[in-house]
Subunit: 466 residues, 3 copies
Amino acid sequence: MALDPDRLFPSEQTTRAIARQLFSTVEHLPIVSPHGHTEPAWYAENAAFADPAALFVIPDHYIFRMLYSQGVPLEALGVPRTDGGAVETDARAIWRLFARHYSLFRATPSRLWFEHAMQTVFGIEERLSAANADALYDRIAETLGREDMRPRALYERFGIEVIATTDSALDDLKHHDAVRASGWKGRVVPTYRPDAVVDPDRPGFAEALARFFELTGMDETYQGYLAGHRARRAYFKARGATATDHGHPSALTADLAPGDAERLFDKVRQGVADAGERELFRAQMLTEMARMSQEDGLVMQIHPGSVRNHNGPLFERFGFDKGADIPSRTDYVHALKPLLGAVGNDPSVTIILFTLDETAYSRELAPLAGHYPALRLGPAWWFFDSADGMKRFRETTTETAGFYNTVGFNDDTRAFLSIPARHDVSRRVDCAYLAGLVRDGRLDEDEAHEVAQDLAYRLAKQAYRL
Amino acid sequence: MALDPDRLFPSEQTTRAIARQLFSTVEHLPIVSPHGHTEPAWYAENAAFADPAALFVIPDHYIFRMLYSQGVPLEALGVPRTDGGAVETDARAIWRLFARHYSLFRATPSRLWFEHAMQTVFGIEERLSAANADALYDRIAETLGREDMRPRALYERFGIEVIATTDSALDDLKHHDAVRASGWKGRVVPTYRPDAVVDPDRPGFAEALARFFELTGMDETYQGYLAGHRARRAYFKARGATATDHGHPSALTADLAPGDAERLFDKVRQGVADAGERELFRAQMLTEMARMSQEDGLVMQIHPGSVRNHNGPLFERFGFDKGADIPSRTDYVHALKPLLGAVGNDPSVTIILFTLDETAYSRELAPLAGHYPALRLGPAWWFFDSADGMKRFRETTTETAGFYNTVGFNDDTRAFLSIPARHDVSRRVDCAYLAGLVRDGRLDEDEAHEVAQDLAYRLAKQAYRL
Amino acid sequence: MALDPDRLFPSEQTTRAIARQLFSTVEHLPIVSPHGHTEPAWYAENAAFADPAALFVIPDHYIFRMLYSQGVPLEALGVPRTDGGAVETDARAIWRLFARHYSLFRATPSRLWFEHAMQTVFGIEERLSAANADALYDRIAETLGREDMRPRALYERFGIEVIATTDSALDDLKHHDAVRASGWKGRVVPTYRPDAVVDPDRPGFAEALARFFELTGMDETYQGYLAGHRARRAYFKARGATATDHGHPSALTADLAPGDAERLFDKVRQGVADAGERELFRAQMLTEMARMSQEDGLVMQIHPGSVRNHNGPLFERFGFDKGADIPSRTDYVHALKPLLGAVGNDPSVTIILFTLDETAYSRELAPLAGHYPALRLGPAWWFFDSADGMKRFRETTTETAGFYNTVGFNDDTRAFLSIPARHDVSRRVDCAYLAGLVRDGRLDEDEAHEVAQDLAYRLAKQAYRL
């Protein structure tokens, strides 16, 4: 299987040569990873990863959902049940099952990421199959025991300059403190993600809110609640955070009169808000968070549009994040108007928008980001964090928003080993896109080189204030 | 005009060579046509086709709608009026009119299909024009009289292994019986399409429902109605059916409590259901049909999203299927939740989804099919059963759903002569897509060969249980 | 920077050679510009353009919105404030600011248009930068003083055969009269755009309506109002108009019973119509305008779907057309049904549809235009008047609607110097698309040549009855 050194480059020779040349100048740039989901404990404890199944299969919903879609029970893949039911615990059996279904991943990003890790981290150039499953399992398992496979060593080997984690508003960030106290020179920063205390529709909201007030010691009023957020943001910022992150069902924002917002909060706090009021509360909070960003300088990330836990029966057995979060149509133009009316014209604010609805790229997102000083477009996300998805992102946003209203790439992953692979894909796809622009006379070659650097490294660092 | 042997292949030489190589291995595979609309009477009676206009123009809404869009009256094209008005009956005059407007079809799939039939069936390599219209008419007309131009002979010449027809729930399937009784070895299977007795908004619903109860002898209750469907499905299955087919205005599904469903049915049966209730009834019936599929193993096809008979004045004169069915935005993520909650996790069920809203491919359909074991994606349909449409289908579904949550190709046509042409186009486009993946290092060449076979032949056969 | 003679052509050599050959036959065809926004006063008065900033920056919302999106205040760019606030008046300072931010325009259409004008009009082949800003300013300023840089001379140099302006229903068209009286042989025709007296939501509607009745002398009844439109249309037509133009928030149309329409008009006239009624009135007026087109033969243009003045705070300071009009999802299939029921089957009527929602191209617009005799599709518009936007337009409409239900290209611009550049881009993109069809065997080369001519020249002239 050995990775093709020209992978993801344009088919036509002249353009391919330009892409190759561009890529050679960005291939080894440091990795800036401002929006990730790796565990801070990894860097704090620096323990070895357990086994091949625990590394590649059990925690990766890209992998297990594909097998599930073809009839493989999640239990057989070792995915833990929240109801206490039994699941497979034999890592080798799980790995074999994955290997036997490996052809399902043909032409998917998971395949690209997996093989990049296999080759660059484990030195494996064979394609996984039922036949070699055991041999490869042994080889990976053996390698995982080595000192240079610990999280900190990999961080350094991957050339990571800074990595952000995503952390609950209630988190004490002790792992972040431990990392800093350890004297290790890696830079791991938290991100303030308050969804659990902002979204009344999330299971456990009431408890989370109670804990939030307890933790911050504020009055249980709207003003106390806002002050609590300010305090927690400051706590995060003091530990290196430069951004907040907000995952809402829709992009709806609101900018209510103070009295109305207070009354709404009271209903939410008392658990008597109806569906419309709960949505309105989330909407109001996006604008409040944007205002706080105006005050404290934290960059704000919004990624709306996912219908979480679509599969009811599965959710009951396995809980969150099991590959059953499905995108839906998402409006931005009407939804964001209140927030943008409040802070959109302030160039000191940075709001980074993501989408799972690609139709919004050219129709709404590029026009909005190509106008409002506070807006930037996040990269192709989740299902679209793929070679074709990234290509469509550039093709449908650049002509209206240019390159400089986008923020380069972030990898958005829990899968540590896939980080270099994802940046590799992104850099290749962007260089391929730029090469096409050079080839068809829309961009000079010296400019393409500069833009390649910007997209691979500079823009992310700058947009996230890292 | 002679067909270009490299048609629809990528422009770049290396990629083109890969595509050509892939295609050479699937070009002559048998045709599996699991979702078609040819007339069962053709195979039963095996009569000659009438004349060039009756073959290519009068029944083909792709052809006559394009001429109509440029001001040619349907009457002049011999399209029969339902109100008894006079239409052109001179086949040669109709053919000439088509020939005179032939340039309208430039770069359309109709053109590709037509010329494929002209060359491979009639040996004609000239481009149709006003100048050669008469000569070509004569040549086709003469050929049509030959024994080897009868439906059964063409079925064999085309390399069809099995073809499904689409049949009303009220159909006695006598032509299917006749085919089987004849001893001819062709395999023609029916498909259960109950829209006429499921959709209260269709003209003639009340009569159809009465006839349905009469035919099945069931009680006029909801339970009787469901039992009637079970009986008719069994009748179809005994005659070779492996699938059902459902064309609804939207993808809405429901899973009502039994009492509610019964009350709803009573209102529908009495003709007093309002628009919302009629929609709800269709929604409920999709879930009931999915449950029956769970029982009897028939594959379920859903193709929603067409606004039928958009052109009121035209509908009054010409009736159904006159090129005035227009797609509209279609939601899947919310609409399918009830049905998927009921049967979506059962890997023994196969539900094949189609769409006329391409925005759903990457946003909703691929994520759903990449998760639920019961779901598969049908190929690019109707307006998108075209080279570019098929390409977009692969480009926007593969990265999330892979190849194996799709079902290969089906031709969805009434136009018998276009069947080989459509499979030819599909195989070429898929090979072109695969060649691109090989060229840019995303797929190994041996895998591409296997996938090409799967897409051209194996997946359709397997998904439709043929 | 010197423009690449092969710009926007396909990367692959064989296809590129076909595109080059096709383009060579259309490159110098006359420009037909049936939907433009240049000032009629320019042709009437034939005065010199003021300075480089006034020519390229201050009036061009493509340019200043991009700088604004990156934090440059509009005041610093000399954009006039409607509230009387001070703005930069030093043209050279504005130009320098533009030059310093020139890299923002990488890979945008603005860049392509600007450089085309720089090279072909001013003979400048250097890329604008902070370093050469002053030198280029001087060179352009000097050139602008020359006689051959006056509007009429440029009209002739650009090879314009006819250009339409867009004019309020209340306009006396005196500049058009002056042009005709001058004996100059250029053809400048007005377009009837009645939005100001049709859309009750526009600021100043009541005054505009009063002025409309005053001007036409009709009764202040619905019949008088319609008669007023008929009179104004005739006035425009007598001055060369061949078309009307309608920019509505949505594509909604209605076809009310006469009494209902009268009552609706009375409420609108009295300013007591609610939001739904105001929308319904716009909807009704589209159908009335279509009926008038049936009577007087004026071509009707509809371009819906823009949320105007999205940025409230900015609108208060700067007013209309400041780059803050954002597209939104637009339905056509349901919205246009009433209008199409009234006139859609009449081949003597021409209604040209535009969109800012690209998802409608393949799903709704191509199927509608591929059926209704009265419908034609306008070219890729506004944000999509770009190389990639035009390519997507062809790729998603041609297979269903063909080429002949589209109307070639129009430039839709206020920026006089960008007119040749825009037609150049369009002709290149269309030739590139056609070359691809030839290369992959979907179109014969002789046909591609004919279609290239049609798209570059003939179709616009014919559709707009020029």
